[in-house]
């Protein structure tokens, strides 16, 4: 039963979806404050390489401590990358789209992450510690829930906590409501005495930290080694996912696992000799096609506002010019 196609797909969907989930939660926070950051792919790669570096080269007592430190380093690196974007678009009011793309070029597969990886000789070595399934082996053999719920690494459970925390933060706390105000109507938020600049900086940086952790999910859990461009475009899917999820954390989780399962579908079908047309083409292209469809639905007759697109997304705020 645990080897039936559906169970395997959901279980690997959860595993492959976890970096997408972390990255999209971060992007969601930034976008809710009105900052569109297209640099997710770059931030993820720098997080991936720095997290990996920390686990390989910084020696602390135990494997668990080393991995936790790796995550912290990854988060910090992601936030540092996001700080460049934040300074350019919030303080200098530069174009958010061009700045985000610049960040991906700067930090991405042909940029800083590759520079760091080759400079520190990180390639071609397996990770010295990796995240293992969190629960004991016996629990993983339970029917259905075993592989799906109990066969995952600590990172998966951490991502669930983050979903709950962010959902609670955005709907039930004062600062969370303030963020939404900043993203919807920065002028009104400013008039209420909320610091637009401060909120946007904090959420862009935290968003970068999430992207860094998402990158480390690759190098410390999914494919535990450093390879140039290891994230393979996951950062772009994460950006699509935020829209796919109508800017809601709980729907990010559903979308991330759906997209993750699609990634596992083609090899899984091939292994079972099932032919469903050009499987690789449609399973690979489906997340992107589905996102285009969702974008169209979201934009239909102002539906965006009802469904949660922050009104001020992508625009700079200057008090004198508002």
């Amino acid at each position: 039963m645990n080897h039936s196609l559906l169970v395997v797909l959901i279980a690997s969907g959860v595993a492959y979806g976890t970096p997408l989930l972390f990255a999209s939660l971060g992007e969601l926070l930034a976008e809710r404050s009105g900052v569109l950051n297209l640099g997710v792919e770059g931030m993820m790669l720098v997080g991936a390489v720095m997290g990996f570096w920390s686990v390989q080269r910084v020696h602390v007592g135990s494997a668990a401590l080393s991995l936790i430190l790796g995550l912290i380093v990854a988060a910090f690196s992601g936030a540092t990358m996001a700080a460049i974007h934040a300074f350019l678009v919030i303080t200098l009011r530069a174009n958010q789209i061009v700045s985000g793309l610049a960040l991906t070029i700067f930090a991405g597969a042909v940029g800083l992450s590759s520079y760091i990886g080759s400079d520190l000789n990180l390639a071609d070595n397996p990770s010295s510690h990796t995240f293992q399934p969190f629960f004991p082996n016996a629990m993983q053999k339970w029917p259905v829930v075993g592989p799906i719920v109990f066969g995952q690494t600590a990172l998966v459970y951490l991502s669930w906590l983050c979903v709950i925390a962010i959902a609670y933060y955005l709907t039930r706390t004062r600062p969370g409501l303030n963020v939404r105000a900043v993203g919807e109507a920065p002028g009104a938020a400013d008039a209420m005495g909320i610091s637009v600049v401060k909120y946007r900086y904090v959420h862009t940086l935290v968003g970068g930290a999430f992207a860094g952790v998402a990158g480390a999910t690759f190098t410390l859990a999914l494919t535990p080694q450093w390879v140039n461009g290891i994230t393979g475009g996951a950062g772009w899917i994460a950006i699509a996912l935020v829209i796919f999820a109508f800017w809601r954390p709980e729907l990010c989780l559903v979308g991330a696992y759906f997209f993750g399962a699609l990634q596992a579908l083609a090899p899984e079908l091939q292994a079972r000799n099932i032919s469903l047309g050009p499987t690789e083409l449609w399973t690979n292209a489906l997340p992107y096609g589905a996102t285009v469809v969702v974008l169209v639905l979201v934009s239909w007759r102002g539906a965006a506002r009802r469904l949660g697109a922050p009104s001020a997304l992508g625009t700079a705020y200057a008090r004198e010019e508002a």
């Binding site: 009011r93 530069a94 940029g111 520079y115 950006i239 050009p278 690789e280 083409l281 285009v292």
Partner: protein, 373 residues
């Protein structure tokens, strides 16, 4: 006392030239610090870079080859961005141009030397392929108001998978199916000889090959410049870019402009794809590690931004960035830090963006106003 950034009422002309030049200089200085901090010698690495890009025998030829696709994608991005239409789908539109261009080349090409008719058909097919692919986000934006930024981006991936599919996962018309090599490693069918674009050789620096595509790129740049600076269409596009409200009051037909500009932008990127096939690869390059690794579409945005969306400046910047790309390719491996080229390109773009602020805004030191009773 604090600093305030406020909008300039008039933008001095000299700033438009000085700021990009200073941006590049500042970027090189910052990248030098990065090199120093990580224990590399910036001067020797920069010398290697310049040597490999512009000085060594044959390097300028390679730089021109690297600059050709960047000129196309840069012009494509500039054409759309000038209207604040963020077509970041140049990448996918380039693939579509390559698919259409090579398709028609395979279909009507034959033996013999380069035929103007076949090449013209490939150019047209490339433009149509790119324009059609760009029109998907264009139509969605014009009629449904869907953000073209993300739809055009998503379609890049779809186009990439289609490209891979045609060569690697199917027995398509584009794929070579005969011969021993074809069974070992999937490749695109070779174009017939009269569909291969000619190149001219200048007899300097040990023979300097100039691909036909480069002429098309320069031609496209000039045409776009005339279109944007000297016609009513271009004027309306620029008004629309500066203020949608003003354009609407002036009676500009916004929907038509969106459709037209997206199609133009896509056509230029698609022409770049046709040039890749006709000039360089001579068959459809579906390898995920080939054309798709080059990310010409994304670099084109850097080129366009640094050229401040002016088509003629874009051509010059394409040479500079093409030189960097070429140097990055030649210097791979051997004691040259990998990724340095991307780092420099990224920092150049950051500096250009920061510099843009100085063009549009002035920074003033403000003293707090003493409260008066």
């Amino acid at each position: 006392m604090r600093l305030r950034i406020e909008r300039r009422l008039d933008q001095p002309r000299w700033l438009a030239v000085v700021v990009p030049v200073l941006s590049v200089a500042a970027a090189l200085a910052i990248a030098a610090v990065v090199l120093l901090v990580t224990g590399h010698n910036p001067i020797s690495n920069y010398r290697k870079l310049v040597d490999a890009a512009f000085v060594q025998t044959g390097s300028i030829g390679q730089t021109l080859i690297a600059a050709t696709p960047l000129a196309f994608t840069g012009l494509a991005a500039a054409a759309a961005f000038r209207m604040r239409l963020y077509n970041i789908g140049g990448e996918g539109q380039l693939y579509m141009g390559a698919i259409f261009g090579s398709g028609i080349g395979l279909l009507i090409g034959g033996s013999g030397s380069a035929s103007p008719g076949v090449i013209a058909a490939m150019v047209a097919a490339g433009c149509i392929g790119g324009a059609l692919w760009a029109s998907i986000p264009g139509v969605l934006r014009a009629f449904l108001g869907t953000s073209e930024i993300l739809t055009s981006l998503m379609l890049n991936y779809v186009a990439g998978y289609i490209l891979t599919f045609l060569i690697f996962q199917s027995q398509s018309y584009w794929r070579e199916t005969k011969g021993f090599n074809a069974t070992v490693f999937p490749t695109g069918k070779q174009l017939p000889s009269n569909a291969i674009w000619p190149q001219w050789t200048l007899h300097t620096q040990g023979g300097l090959p100039i691909p036909l595509g480069l002429f098309f790129a320069v031609l496209a740049g000039v045409v776009l410049w005339v279109l944007y600076k000297r016609t009513k269409f271009g004027f309306e596009v620029q008004v629309l870019g500066d203020s949608t409200g003003a354009a609407r009051y002036a009676g500009v037909r916004i929907r038509r402009k969106i459709l037209a500009v997206m199609a133009i932008s896509g056509a230029v990127a698609g022409l770049g794809g046709a040039s890749q096939v006709g000039d360089f690869s001579h068959g459809l390059d579906g390898d995920p590690n080939g054309l798709q690794k080059q990310a010409y579409g994304y670099s084109g945005i850097v080129v366009a931004a640094l050229g401040r969306y002016n088509p003629l400046a874009v051509l010059l910047v394409a040479l500079l960035i093409g030189g960097l790309d070429n140097a990055g390719n030649t210097l791979q491996g051997a004691d040259f830090p990998s990724g340095l080229v991307g780092v420099i390109q990224g920092i150049i773009l950051f500096c250009a963006l920061g510099g843009e602020v100085l063009v549009r805004h002035r920074i003033r030191v403000v003293r707090p106003v003493a409260a008066t009773a």
